[in-house]
């Protein structure tokens, strides 16, 4: 399979102190890593693409490590995660699906025994396209306080033959969460759901 050709890497950390309500003692942090890579399958239909997932694993691990470092270096601080991809117009949506395994498993590997599925979204877009990356709790998808999303994009990507690959990690619930449901403190954390 082709080599992963990285053009740009973005790492963003957002520290949220309040949203016009009571200021919590510890602010919420949300970090995102965006990699702009060449899409080796752009421009034509390629049947056999699955091998590229293996090639993307080192990039996934590097991005997961950068996110943990950007959040202070302690993987135990991470409570939410998400992932996504924007495929340039020369590619197809299926190319974005290549990110599920290397993106998801790299975060699980670095976060210990996280049980929940990593929520994701993907789309075909162009230079400057924004994407809303969904976020859920790392051990139990039904934890309502941790449902969140982060809007991301790169001003000059993806070009026609590129993909933007995204990973997101957060340190806690929405800043003023108060709509009930399953609480993080009440999860069993065995089935990845509750």
């Amino acid at each position: 399979m082709p080599e992963v050709e990285l053009r740009k890497m973005y790492v963003t950390v957002e520290t949220i102190y309040h949203e016009f309500g009571p200021v919590p003692d510890v602010p919420l942090q949300r970090a995102a890593a965006l990699a702009v890579i060449r899409n080796p399958f752009a421009g034509k239909y390629v049947e056999d693409i699955a091998g590229f997932m293996e090639d993307l694993k080192p990039l996934g691990l590097e991005m997961a490590d950068r996110l943990i470092a950007a959040l202070g270096g302690d993987p135990d601080r991470v409570e939410g995660f998400g992932k996504g991809a924007i495929i340039g117009p020369g590619g197809e949506l299926e190319h974005g699906a290549l990110w599920h395994v290397p993106g998801g498993y790299s975060m699980r590997e670095r976060l210990g025994d996280s049980r929940a599925i990593v929520p994701s979204t993907k789309k075909v877009g162009t230079v400057g396209t924004r994407i809303d990356i969904p976020i859920t709790h790392i051990n139990a998808s039904y934890v309502r306080s941790h449902f969140d999303a982060m809007e991301l994009g790169v001003p000059d990507a993806p070009r026609n033959d590129e993909m933007v690959l995204a990973l997101v990690m957060t340190t806690g619930p929405r800043i003023h969460q108060r709509v009930g449901g399953l609480a993080a403190a009440d999860i069993k954390g065995e089935d990845g759901l509750r």
């Binding site: 740009k8 790492v11 963003t12 950390v13 957002e14 520290t15 809007e151 001003p155």
Partner: protein, 194 residues
Amino acid sequence: MSAIIRKIVTTVEETHREIGRTISPPTRKAVAVAVIENPFAGNYVEDLSPLMEIGAELGGLLGEACVAALGIEPSQAESYGKAAMVGENGELEHAAAILHPKLGAPLRKAVEKGAALVPSSKKMGGPGQALDVPLGHKDAAYVRSHFDGIEVRIADAPRANEIMVAVSVTDSGRPLPRVGGLSADEAIGEDGLR
């Protein structure tokens, strides 16, 4: 008056390849943005000195955040810039009060020296709108390889009563500079121009 900060977003952009060429080491730009309450939203206030004090506070805070995000010593910073976007209930002059009188000195301390004018931009705008921060060499404004810019946008800011204040610091110029002019090596860096 000190700033009431709702969130801080810090981003590092690395460029590893450009137009088929490898950039080694990658060029790196950091930008740190504070979203603050606009104390003068909604009415005309003659004395803007409290915003000037907020500018001083943010110049240091955001300049240091950029240097920390790049993981460099202050002396390794090469270029800088600043910009502000005022939410709809404010006034363009509010951006000027934050950016111009007092923001520069603490920013220069964060990047060591900084003989050159800090290039700046300002606008009125709303949530999700792009803000382009101009960049120039920190000790010699005529260094042509370091004229650049970085775009920032935050999905939920600035709200009507808020101001987005951005500071950018880099450890490099453009990826493939080749339009001549004064080079960073030749710059004396005493008068801020050459």
